[in-house]
């Protein structure tokens, strides 16, 4: 019998990695990811988790060590945030191109300068194109469940890709809330042992990371792209299976109060929960407002998005990152691109907010939605607006 416990989300994420029987953890501590890797180090040191913990001198090395571990077929986990994610940037491409199903928890945090240890999605957006499966979670339970799912998705023979689980720094990582840790035997049943098809093995040598000349590079990249696109089927399948086994169901875009909603707000990560409260209040006030929560960031869920906006007239997108000098937040510009040319297109309004740990309260979301409706009707001088900035 599983029971709900009051757990810090970081601790629960580390426990989820342990429940998944990781073989190797290599990480470098950085706020606000620290508690995840500290707890894993503790579990290994105590002998509770039979895994190799590789301490390293930087995130670049952490991800490099993960590559090596994954290459021999070890189930590999790491976690990072912010500058740490950017420091491992170039190695992230290698992990996906070499098809190593490393799972990484990212405690989303703003980027310097000025130094900010607090949450936003600037770090994620800079790694948007690295070829990893990327999933956003909005509470501790989702973080635990999706870490377990991530191993099964990534390690599936049809996929073989690394997976990032994005959980907002502090707002999720440092919060104590009720979490149900699944039973080890149920996780074992759900997650079969990892068997990498072409591991580094002196008995059966392979060359990894060789030179790719112009005559082959395009084919390699296309194979990688098709593979990531097709991973969506497996992701859906794993979420289905997880739902059957554990009773909690996930999907690429989750709809909340969308029935008959003329106005939709789209959010990602932990702020989705506050936004739900705001939507409830506005519904009570008789406004036809609903919420879309984008969970699967890569591969981008085009069909699901198009399907979910069918009845909407206005779609307001909140980004927690700026694409400087660009058309708005990265999520909003992708949403616009996904809807462009469609038969039914809502007016899309982009906001950037919640930067560097700036809270958006329930009434804040209400204010943003109302302003979004106003912009949709009367227009704005800008491509996007920023929420909550002092004039």
């Amino acid at each position: 019998m599983t029971k709900r416990e009051g757990l810090e989300v970081s601790i629960a994420v580390a426990d989820a990695a342990m429940l998944s029987d990781v073989d190797v953890v290599s990480a470098y501590p950085i706020t606000p990811q620290t508690h995840i890797v500290e707890h894993l180090a503790e579990l290994v040191a105590n002998g509770e988790l039979k895994a190799a913990y590789i301490p390293v001198e930087s995130e670049h090395s952490a991800m490099s060590a993960c590559l090596g571990a994954s290459a021999i077929g070890a189930r590999t986990f790491t976690a990072t945030a912010s500058q740490g994610l950017e420091l491992m940037h170039e190695v992230l491409y290698v992990a996906s191109a070499m098809r190593f199903p490393i799972v990484m928890a990212v405690a989303n945090r703003a980027l310097s300068a000025p130094i900010s240890i607090w949450g936003d999605h600037s770090d994620v957006m800079a790694t948007r194109d690295v070829g990893w499966i990327q999933i956003f979670v909005e509470n501790g339970q989702e973080a635990v469940d999706n870490v377990i799912c991530a191993f099964r998705m990534g390690e599936d023979k049809r996929v073989l890709l690394p997976v990032m689980i994005h959980l907002d720094g502090f707002v999720l990582t440092h919060v104590i809330e009720p979490i149900e840790l699944p039973d080890k035997k149920d996780v074992d049943r759900f997650l079969p042992p990892f068997k990498y098809p072409l591991p580094l093995d002196p008995e059966k040598p392979v060359t990894m990371g060789a030179f790719g000349q112009p005559f082959i590079y395009t084919e390699v990249k296309w194979a990688q792209e098709i593979n990531l696109e097709k991973s969506k089927d497996v992701i859906l399948e794993v979420w289905q299976e997880f739902g059957k086994a554990f009773g909690r169901q996930y999907s690429p875009i989750e709809q909340y109060q969308t029935d008959g909603a003329k106005v939709l707000l789209l959010t990602m990560g932990s702020y989705s929960e506050t936004a739900m409260v705001a939507v409830d209040k506005m519904r009570n006030d008789g406004k036809e407002v609903g919420l879309l929560k984008l969970r699967l960031w890569r591969p981008f869920p085009y069909e699901e998005l198009r399907e979910s906006i069918k009845s909407a007239e206005i779609l307001i997108v909140l980004d927690r990152a700026i694409s400087f000098g660009g058309p708005g937040g990265p999520v909003c510009s992708e949403v616009k691109a996904a809807l462009y040319g469609g038969e039914k297109q809502p007016k899309v309004v982009g906001f950037v907010g919640g930067l560097g740990g700036r809270d958006i309260t329930m009434s804040g979301f209400e204010e943003m939605i109302n302003r979004g409706i106003e912009i949709a009707r009367t227009g704005s001088k800008r491509e996007f607006e920023i929420y909550g900035v002092r004039e």
Binding site: L160, L198, V206, M208, E219, V220, A223, I226
Partner: protein
Amino acid sequence: MTKSKLTEIRWHGRGGQGAVTSAELVAQAAIGEGKYAQAFPSFSPERRGAPVMAFNRINPDEPIRTRAEVDQPDVVLIMDPNLLSILDATSGLKEGGTVIINTKKSVEQVRKDFGISARLALVDANTIAQETLGVLIVNTTMIGAMIKATGVISSESIKEPFEKRFGRLAERNIKALERAVEETKIGEWLEMAKAKTKEKPGTKGELSWKEIEIGCFITKPGNSVEIKTGDWKSRRPEFDFDKCNKCTLCYFFCPEGCIAKTKDGYFEADLFYCKGCGICATECPKDAITMVEEAK
């Protein structure tokens, strides 16, 4: 058919032979004449002795926009005759195009040996370079052959780029070029020659994106043993066992690791891999190794 004024040139040489420099000098000469021109190498890791390509485009009137490699040349230059046995010199050659070869052979012999019926310009660039420059660097000599065969630039306009590039050695290079202009033999285009639009060497039979192994891994590692690096050499070592004292220095110095002990305790190079660098001959204390011309 209206003929385009654009001349496209493809140089085939070996790493270190100066194909890239040749292309550069030709472009500078053309630009000096007030024409539009372009020179660039086939971008790849640089390996001395390996087959390399360089390209020119020259247009007297219009700026050149195409930046792709020349796959349908008007002129092909072969700086090392041994290349003819490993690549298709006439690949993509335009109708009426010219193949210029550094060879001692006659027009008839080249036609017979390599089945080239396109217009030929042949020059014994090795001899000219050796006699005029004292070294076996044939790039400036080959430019002379090209001037003779095509007239796409003049002997006059090449002088300034030579002076800038070679300084006090320019004079000798100009002499080599002028000798090549005189000595180059032309064999006209035969009716049977048809323009070929074959793929570039090395792009045939490659994997489709569906056939690529996970992560682009190579499941048969160590396949460099299949690569005939022996094709890279223009000179090969000859071992004189009468002089050899079995000291093993050649064995240890060979960067390719292709020198092995014979059953009698002497040493010999595996010519399948030997790149003809000549280090063994330099290191041999008994002068038992001589580098000889590979060209037949």
